[in-house]
C-alpha cells in the first residue's frame, strides 16, 4: 500500500469511511431541493433568458447591433470568447496535467472544474459563431463536400485551426468528464430509491457494474486521455493566440503570444474554479473534501501563472521599444497612455499587482480574501483581452481611420446572458450530478484521509 509522508496535511478531513464519502455526495442529490438552490437557479434563469433574448435580437437584426465599426471590427465579442475559453482551461489542466503528475489534491476539484470547462467552452463558442454574421451558415467552417464549385475552408488560416482546436478540446473534455462520471452515476443508481430517478441514473451510468477488468480499462483510458489532453490544453490557447499573432496588427504580431495566453488562461481558469468552489464547498458542506490545502495549492498556481503573465506584459513593453518599429512602440504607448489607458491600468492592477499578495501565507489561506481575489483576477483577465483587442486596433495606421468603440446594450446583454446560461448549467450540474469524483476520492482515502493517516502514524 502507498504511504504518504506524515508531514503532509491530510486531504480528506475527519473520520470518513468509504460509505461516508458516498453518503456525503449522494444524499444531497437524493434529498429535497434546497431553497438556496431554487433562488440561485431562478436568478440564473432570468439572466440567461435575458441573454437568450439578446441573442435572438442580435441574430434577427444582425451584428450591427453591437458597437463594432470599420476600425474596431473585434471588441467585446472576441474578448468574451477568449475570456470564456481561458476559463475553460483549468478543468482539463487539473484533470489531465495534475493526473500525470500524480497530484492527489486534484481529486476533490477535478469533477467540478471539468464541468466548468465544458460549460465555459460552450459559452465561448457562442461568440465567434454569432460574429460570423450568418449563424445558420456556421457549418461552412467545416470541410464538407459542397456544390459551391467545391469550395473548401482555408487550412492555412489560424481561424480555421481554431475551429478544429476548440471543437477537439470541447469534445475530448466532454468524453473525459463523462467517462469519469459513469462509475459515479452507477453509485447514485444503486442508492436511488425513487423509481423514475433510478431509471434516469441507470441510463446515465451505461450499466456500469465495477468489474475488475473494467476498472483496469478505466484507469488506462483515464491515463491515456490525460496524456493526450495535456498537449491539447496547451495547443488550444496557443491556437487562440495565433488568431492574433499571425495577423499584421501592431500589438498582436508577437511571438510571445502562445505561452503568454496559455499562462493567462490557466490563471483565469483557476480563479474561476476558486470562485465556484468556495461557494460550492460552503453550500454543499464539502469542507472535509475541499479544504484549505486545496485552496492554498490553487492560490499557488495563481501566483505562478499570474507572475508569468506579469513578466509577459513587461516583455511586450520592452520588446515594442527595443524593436525600434514605431508602429509597434506606438501601439504600446497608446495602451498605457491613450484614451483606453484606464483599461490597461485596470488589467495591470488586477493581474500583476494583486496576485502577488498571495505570497503572504496568511492571505492565501484566507477564504474571504481568496474569494475576493478570484473575482479581481476574473475582471483583470477580461480587461487583458479587451486591452489586447481594442487598444491594438482602435488607432489604425492612418489617423483618418481612427475609431472608437462603445459597447451597446446588446454587447453587454449577451455577455451578461452567457454568465447566466453558464450558471444555469453549473447549478444543474451541482444539483443532479456527483460534484466530487467519488471513485477517485475513495482510492486516496487510506493514503490521504485524516483518520487513516493517524492510524498509520501509530505503527
Amino acid at each position: 500500500m502507498i504511504k504518504e509522508s506524515k508531514i503532509r496535511k491530510p486531504l480528506i478531513l475527519g473520520h470518513k469511511t468509504y460509505g461516508d464519502i458516498t453518503k456525503d455526495i449522494v444524499d444531497p442529490i437524493m434529498g429535497e431541493t434546497p431553497k438556496q438552490w431554487k433562488i440561485a437557479f431562478t436568478i440564473a434563469c432570468i439572466v440567461a433568458l435575458y441573454g437568450v433574448g439578446c441573442l435572438f435580437y442580435i441574430i434577427g437584426v444582425g451584428i450591427g447591433s453591437w458597437g463594432l465599426n470599420k476600425t474596431v471590427g473585434w471588441a467585446w465579442d472576441i474578448t468574451n470568447f477568449v475570456w470564456w475559453v481561458g476559463i475553460g482551461h483549468a478543468g482539463t489542466l487539473i484533470s489531465a496535467v495534475l493526473l500525470l503528475f500524480r497530484q492527489r489534491w486534484r481529486m476533490a476539484i477535478n469533477r467540478s472544474a471539468e464541468a466548468m470547462t465544458i460549460f465555459a467552452v460552450i459559452m465561448a463558442a457562442i461568440f465567434p459563431i454569432i460574429h460570423m454574421g450568418r449563424v445558420w451558415q456556421a457549418y461552412w467552417t467545416l470541410p464538407l463536400p459542397n456544390q459551391f464549385g467545391s469550395l473548401w475552408p482555408n487550412f492555412n488560416s489560424a481561424l480555421l485551426w481554431d475551429v478544429f482546436a476548440i471543437s477537439t478540446y470541447f469534445s475530448v473534455s466532454l468524453v473525459f468528464w463523462y467517462i469519469g462520471l459513469i462509475p459515479d452515476f452507477a453509485t447514485i443508481r444503486d442508492k436511488m430509491v425513487k423509481p423514475g430517478w433510478k431509471k434516469f441514473y441507470s441510463i446515465l451510468s451505461f450499466g456500469w457494474s465495477g468489474r475488475a477488468k473494467h476498472w483496469t480499462r478505466f484507469e488506462e483510458v483515464s491515463l491515456v486521455l490525460a496524456g493526450i489532453a495535456t498537449p491539447l490544453v496547451f495547443s488550444v490557447h496557443s491556437i487562440v493566440s495565433m488568431d492574433f499573432a499571425t495577423s499584421i496588427i501592431p500589438g498582436w504580431h508577437t511571438t510571445i503570444f502562445p505561452p503568454y495566453f496559455v499562462a493567462g488562461a490557466v490563471f483565469s481558469g483557476f480563479a474561476m474554479v476558486q470562485t465556484l468552489l468556495l461557494i460550492m464547498r460552503k453550500v454543499m458542506k464539502l469542507e472535509a473534501y475541499i479544504n484549505l490545502r486545496h485552496i492554498e495549492y490553487m492560490n499557488i498556481v495563481i501566483i505562478v501563472t499570474g507572475s508569468i503573465v506579469g513578466v509577459a506584459y513587461l516583455t511586450e513593453l520592452f520588446v515594442s521599444w527595443y524593436s525600434g518599429v514605431e508602429y509597434e512602440s506606438y501601439a504600446f504607448i497608446n495602451r498605457f497612455s491613450g484614451p483606453l489607458a484606464w483599461s490597461y491600468w485596470a488589467m495591470m492592477t488586477c493581474n500583476v499587482i494583486s496576485p502577488q499578495l498571495f505570497w503572504i501565507k496568511k492571505l492565501r489561506t484566507n477564504l474571504q480574501f481568496t474569494f475576493f481575489m478570484s473575482i479581481i483576477v476574473n475582471i483583470g483577465m477580461w480587461f487583458e483581452r479587451f486591452v489586447i483587442i481594442v487598444t491594438s486596433i482602435h488607432r489604425d495606421y492612418l489617423p483618418a481611420a481612427w475609431g472608437e468603440f462603445k459597447a451597446t446594450p446588446m454587447d453587454i446583454g449577451l455577455f451578461i446572458g452567457t454568465i447566466g446560461i453558464f450558471f444555469v448549467l453549473f447549478l444543474l450540474f451541482a444539483r443532479y450530478f456527483p460534484v466530487l469524483a467519488l471513485n477517485e476520492l475513495k482510492t486516496i482515502l487510506k493514503v490521504s484521509g485524516e483518520s487513516y493517516k493517524n492510524d498509520n502514524n501509530k505503527h
Partner: protein, 176 residues
C-alpha cells in the same frame, strides 16, 4: 452438478486483496471482482491481463494523422489550388508547417474518441445497458468476489470452508 455461484463480500479492499491472494494460492479461481473503485494490485492476483486500449488509441491517432494529411492535401492542393495572399499551394510539403495544428488536433480527436468508443464497446457499457453487479452495495463501500463451482473442481462445501477462513463480511450462494 448444477453450477453454483458464490458471491463473497468484504467490507474493505485490503481484506479482499488478502483473501484473493490466499484463495488463489490454494488453487481457487476467482472469476471476477466487483468494487466501487479500482483496487491496485488485484489484477495480477486474479489473472486480469493488461488492457491493450493504449495501443488502440495510438493506432486511432495514427489514422487521424494520415486522414488529416490526406485531407489537407486534397482540399488545399489537389482539388482546388487556393492562392491566399500570393502564397499558392502547389505542393503539400511547402505548406505543411501551417497544416500542423490541424494534423495535431485531428490526431488527438481520433485517438481520444476512438479509444473512448472502444472502451465503452469492450466493456459493454452503453446507454440503456442493464447493470449486473451482484449487490447494489458494490458501488458504495463493499467489495464482492465472484467464484463459481464450474471454474473450480471443488464442491460447494469445500469452497465455502476455504472462503470462510478469510475475513468475510457476507457470503451468498446462488444456483445458475
Amino acid at each position: 452438478m448444477a453450477n453454483k455461484v458464490l458471491h463473497v463480500m468484504y467490507d474493505d479492499d485490503q481484506k479482499l486483496l488478502d483473501a484473493a491472494r490466499a484463495l488463489v494460492a490454494q488453487g481457487i479461481r476467482v472469476k471476477d471482482v466487483f468494487s466501487p473503485f479500482p483496487i491496485h494490485g488485484l489484477d495480477p492476483i486474479i489473472g486480469v491481463k493488461r488492457t491493450r486500449l493504449a495501443i488502440c488509441s495510438f493506432l486511432y491517432a495514427c489514422t487521424g494523422t494520415v486522414l488529416a494529411i490526406l485531407g489537407t492535401w486534397y482540399f488545399m492542393v489537389s482539388d482546388w489550388n487556393m492562392n491566399i495572399g500570393g502564397k499558392p499551394n502547389f505542393t503539400w510539403i511547402e505548406n505543411a508547417p501551417s497544416f500542423i495544428p490541424v494534423m495535431f488536433e485531428f490526431s488527438v480527436f481520433c485517438g481520444a474518441h476512438g479509444m473512448a468508443l472502444t472502451y465503452l464497446l469492450r466493456n459493454g457499457t452503453l446507454p440503456g445497458m442493464p447493470a449486473d453487479n451482484p449487490d447494489p452495495r458494490t458501488t458504495d463501500d463493499k467489495f464482492v468476489m465472484e467464484i463459481t463451482t464450474e471454474d473450480n473442481h471443488m464442491s460447494v462445501e469445500e469452497l465455502e470452508a476455504k472462503i470462510r477462513a478469510t475475513d468475510v463480511f457476507e457470503l451468498s450462494i446462488k444456483n445458475y
